[in-house]
Chain length 464, copies 4
């Protein structure tokens, strides 16, 4: 999914606020982090592999003076996990130096790449952002703003874009509004971010979401808006509500935690199960499980907790240790599960392997029955817009009956939330959401150009 | 508090299991980690600063062959945060090579140090374990077992000790049972650990706790037990139940999570508050808050969550960012708090600064009232047995009335759990617990020797 | 100056040989190192800041399979010291994926940049190589070879270029032959390198130098050559012979060490000094000093040695230590200097600070007289072709008389080698060398475009 | 061999000077480095694996305030390469806190270890220094000075020791003076160091060598001396003059470089060879080769140079690269060697592998004849005092005739220096030097206790 952040201020140093904003967006991508800051004369970039707190030591922030910035946290989807693919991109163009940070995937990137190559453009990364850079640079018009508008009109797919020059911050959101992008403000400083939780982290207020097909331009004159495209419909990614967004973020005026609790309540009504305890699958299903417990009257418990000290667990256990599986990271509390009929609430099932392990773990801890309640419809189709899901044949719900899935994961019963109920809980009609992953149809064309194009190029840089 | 682990096996490689055991005990100490493993001929040690997963790369484990081991995770209390103070200690003595891992603090360590210095012993660290090493080495008797027994009889304070030779694992627990130490088993392999969650992590079963004043000897012949001291009373650290132990651990036959839920229920009965929502203070109060919600009938919510991506947040924010305080790491969900009367459940209040910030944060997110319910009595006295608490004058409850504390933290009302109710919830009489931190009297003498002794020596090693 | 390396083989893995070649060229640049290797389907790049042995761990080489490669060691001149500026560059173009490694500086880079920007090209680095990439990509013709030829005809300045596609290695040397580039061979494998010492390191034989204005194309068919430009004159960098090249390299058929000894002999004849001992300035003047000693009959001694354990010496000494200056790294041997009349031979004097310190050190060690003999004419003009020299006003010989310089460095007498004698020692007429740094006139135009262009962009990446 | 350094000052910060001193002694040991500094109240230690410049970052030095210090660079001989074995040792004893840094090996260490274990002492390292610590701690007398004197009288073997308390620096040198130790002074500050080059590095003056069997005590009162033992003879390590010491050091009033040149002259007289050029084996034979060239009248050349960019060369070359052998690090200059009769001067031959490779390399570069002239007698016996030499059967000169050795290394002729001539060159009679490695007899008893004792214990610490 990736997370983007942008800032325009006349007085406040941008780097610390951008750091905090990216830190708050960390859940949207942990592969790499970066920011570009301009002091009006120089743009300086700092990027690295890993978490925001690992990439930005205090010294790095001190080396990024200036009041205008864009930042990025990357979640690898298209393009290999290399520093060369870390964002923001920074380049000198005919419009002067610009920097770009983008979330979401284009679905016509390769078509555009082929076209740009013919004009003499080259690609040093496999990011979609470099395609946008090429379109912007190709435009002869007088201003970056105009170049960005025309570039944006060429793009198909999902994108939320933060672009900057020395004295301007520009935000764009795809015509269907698949990707989220919000506007924040604090005094005379303006902000853009994938989620409003980034504004909370820096004491700024959420002004509103950027509209589908809207370009906002922020500079000394304040914020101006123009519509670069008129979407035929809105198609906001439903998975942001289900799983991806942070519970304290506000999207389309709704707090994600409250939406998820309502989803849980709907799930309880739709799938009434006779049981003793409701427990959330770690880590993201707590809100839905609370709603389920509330609506069902069945007690909520946290009898399955994650080891707080996560970290790369590389260990290759001996044969006798191998059977332990996920137990290193998950702690079932036997005394709270023994003899109980358990409802395990999860936000979704993708491959099903985690569900199977978790259910086995619960039974091993003494649970008498394990019923699986899923806070979304069956995940049956791949996402082309930025969520990193496996190919269709790895999706457990693809081409299998409910009972087949139930048996594969080892549950006593399995309950998915109906699409209808999901839309009601979110409070929008189906038409306003992208539900392609639930078989709802892709809201944009998917390009048919040679998909192996990005494989031409594989780069890696050693960390020194 | 620190965490200790020990293993004796005839066939299973000890290093991977010890790694997993220490990983499960990580919550007991994050400053350093280490293990010593013997293959019957050589003892090899590997220690480092940081988390278990940082200290032990796969290569390190591969370099530690053998079937007998002791391990340690350190939580700095006595002794500075240096690699020189990392445990286990490993030394050649007149009884051959031995290794020691200890949790808990001695209260007569300096008296013993002075005595040992006079015999020609020297101290290269400031750990209590080196004092035990000195006592063991001083003993002329024929066996390490006898030396350990006599050494243990000289010790005052809290200790759980795992000692090993090339072919023997020995566990000792202080006469009052202040520190926890449990016995586990899996096939022919035996284990010792500070908490039973370490056994779960490696698929072993909890056999029983080591008894106060007991020494268990594990070797080819199996497990033997002898009583090196008879405690006049039992005084298990009440704070293990309240805060320190992992919820899935079983202590004295009771699962910590269930004990904490019961504590929460008692708190609800004792402190009935008219409110709209119960929320736990992050991270450790979830169990008590669940119990409170259950007994009070007031809905439980997780409207105050921690940023999952913890990490050293070094950033020194600009003035305008500085006011944000804890908000970087804590995410209050305004929509779930706005206009609500909130009960904030925490396990204890030490300095009070965190409580004050959290309450301020809740109010900032729109909470109409914030009532603080604490799952333990006022924390008024320092701990001499291993919990790292500030000096008495920094304890907010020391010498202040309930109302003074309430005003300092900014709560609408403040409720502590009575000691009586706490004991009932745990299911033991007061006599069986160490409650010195609640003003309950120290169960052992506290030495009066020059407390600056360890300051003589301050060592540091550079990480290369 | 930078060092470049290229390899084409049908059977031999390229990465290890490229590693050894770059290792041998390390003296040409220590800022960054990198290589690109193709296995016919994928190009893989690995770059990093620091020495070859630091950037390429064994794992990195193992991850670079293939038989065609280009490599680079960078010596910062134009472009800031950032990983973004490390070479080789690798990009997808209309001619497919290519990689480029270049040494030397263009003198019309900014003019070309401005031109390329107008076509929609963008610059993500401040390297000259990206300019060449842009020219190549702009060319519509059918082949990379043709594109490179036409690009090369647009370039002014000094360049030695190694370019590659999946199945071809191409080398180009500037029309005046300012930069060195040689061809090597071992069995069926072909090599290109800045200096022949790289061929020795891999057991290959020096075939010949690439000719000024020549393009060599190496593929399955073997090596072909064409002349992309006909230089009006040859202007090989004289400083390669004086200082830069490794003594065991063969350039224009001459071994550098032997040339330098001859230079020393000429210097002795021209500047006959009555003295007791000849000592070389560390590290590069040994060859010249040997020649001087031989021709003068005055004994050679190494009474001034460098500490073998170089390394970043960051220490900020206390006031009383500060006066020690270079003495940490240089060891004068008082017993060998005391009362002696010393001839200090150095290859050149740039700022003069090192000479002043060294002479002071020799006097402090007891030298009675210190005469400075310099194996080149006064260095009076900046280099625009790749040697990183300070601005003209920092050159001690710029605008100062011989006696002024002598007094500034504190020598009893100062002797420069005449340009005539230098050319004779090298064995070419003045016309065949670039002697611009000695006031000999720049052999190419120097562009007048806005020199601040590269300052537009400043990038940095954190090493993770 | 290791290097030691000590400092006592009333005003000057010790850490920077100790850093510079250790940096100058780096050639004596590259495995680990460390120092202990006292500010009169606290001793602080900082140690690490690697070079002085790697272990001591600026921050580390800033954390070591105080005016009294001891430092150490370690060259692994006895005791494995672990941080646990890095020196100085720092410990609290009955005499208060002390720190110890030692060079040289004891030959009765294991006998003393066994004795100390029986008193209750333990060993946490495998260093000889911990044995000295045990003896000092065992002594009941009133002062550290007395304890050190009595401890020193128990020691057999080679040792130079720097010991310190909060307000005193003490130096001891073994009764035979096998190990070097010198006294330096600068204003009111006193220094001890293995070699006088450390004094040069900090602007101090060499006062004199510590005498065999002497203990010097430096404190507020200045320097006092007493003789703790009267050696029956002096036996200074001849290898210090031949190879180990830095050429600019002054030992016994003689500058090492001058001694080595004289050795070279004697070698030329003893082994007159008809040849064209004299070249030194890298890196240490330059002085001897200069002397040889001077006395023989045959020109000196540096036609075999080391790659300046040393570093761990881990690369496992492919089969075709493997034959290249040492050529990566050594650069023979063919033009200077072709057709020449070469005299290769080296300081000694140990295993002979390096000589064989070097000779092969010279022949490969075109040398017509290669004659090997060695500036010492055949190295035939292992060293028990600190030089890390292989076991006797790996010494090429052990049990082989001159001609056998010559054939093994592939030389046209082989010439060793006679012991007589060596002593004359050094200027002392044979009785004043330890020449055990040349079959001259060990000047001390070599203990017969179980040599496997240190194997009891093997420790390792991870660098975090």
């Amino acid at each position: 999914m990736c997370g983007v952040f942008g800032m325009f201020s006349l007085s406040e140093e941008a780097a610390p606020a951008t750091y905090l904003g990216l830190y708050a967006l960390q859940h949207r991508g942990q592969e790499s982090a970066g920011m570009v800051v301009s002091d009006g004369k120089k743009m300086r970039s700092h990027k690295g592999m890993g978490l925001v707190s690992q990439v930005f030591e205090e010294e790095a922030l001190a080396g990024l003076p200036g009041q205008v910035s864009v930042g990025h946290v990357r979640y690898a989807t298209q393009g290999a996990a290399h520093i060369a693919n870390a964002q923001p991109l920074m380049a000198v163009t005919r419009h002067g130096p610009i920097a770009l940070a983008q979330s979401g995937n284009l679905t016509n990137a390769n078509l555009l790449r082929v076209e740009l190559l013919q004009t003499g453009f080259t690609f040093q990364t496999t990011t979609d952002s470099e395609v946008i850079l090429g379109l912007v640079a190709a435009h002869e018009g007088p201003s970056l703003q105009e170049a960005l508008r025309q570039a944006a009109q060429r793009l198909t797919g999902a994108f939320a874009l933060c672009a900057m020059t020395h004295d301007r911050l520009i935000g764009l959101r795809d015509p269907l509004g698949i990707q989220p992008l919000s506007i924040g403000r604090s005094g005379s400083a303006w902000f853009l971010a994938s989620e409003s939780c980034a504004f909370d982290a820096i004491g700024a207020e959420l002004v509103r979401d950027v509209r589908p097909g809207e370009m906002v331009i922020i500079d000394r004159e304040g914020l101006r808006s123009e519509q670069f495209a008129k979407g035929v419909r809105e198609a906001f990614c439903v998975f942001e509500f289900i799983y991806f967004a942070r519970p304290d973020s506000v999207i389309s005026g709704k707090t994600v935690h409250e939406v998820r609790k309502e989803i849980g309540r709907r799930l309880a009504k739709q799938a009434a199960i006779d049981a003793d305890v409701v427990i959330p699958a770690p880590d993201s299903a707590a809100s839905a499980a609370l709603g389920y417990a509330e609506a069902s009257g069945i007690p909520y418990d946290v009898a399955l907790a994650k080891n707080r000290y996560v970290g790369r667990t590389f260990i290759r256990p001996t044969e006798s240790l191998r059977q332990l599986g996920v137990q290193i990271k998950l702690n079932p509390i036997a005394a709270s599960l023994k003899g109980k009929r358990v409802i395990l609430v999860d936000d979704s099932i993708v491959r099903g392997t985690t569900s199977r392990k978790t259910i086995k773990l619960l039974r091993g801890a003494g649970a008498r029955e394990v019923h699986m309640a899923v806070a979304s419809p069956p995940f049956s189709h791949p996402c082309h817009y930025g969520i990193d899901v496996p190919s269709q044949d790895e999706l457990i719900a693809s081409g299998r009956s409910l009972d087949e899935v139930r048996r594969l994961i080892g549950a006593d019963s399995l309950h998915y939330l109906d699409a209808e109920a999901l839309y009601e809980a979110i409070g929008v009609e189906g038409g306003g959401l992208c539900t392609a992953c639930f078989g709802g149809g892709y809201p944009t064309p998917i390009e048919d150009a040679d998909p192996s194009f990005p494989e031409f190029l594989e780069g890696e840089m050693v960390p020194r």
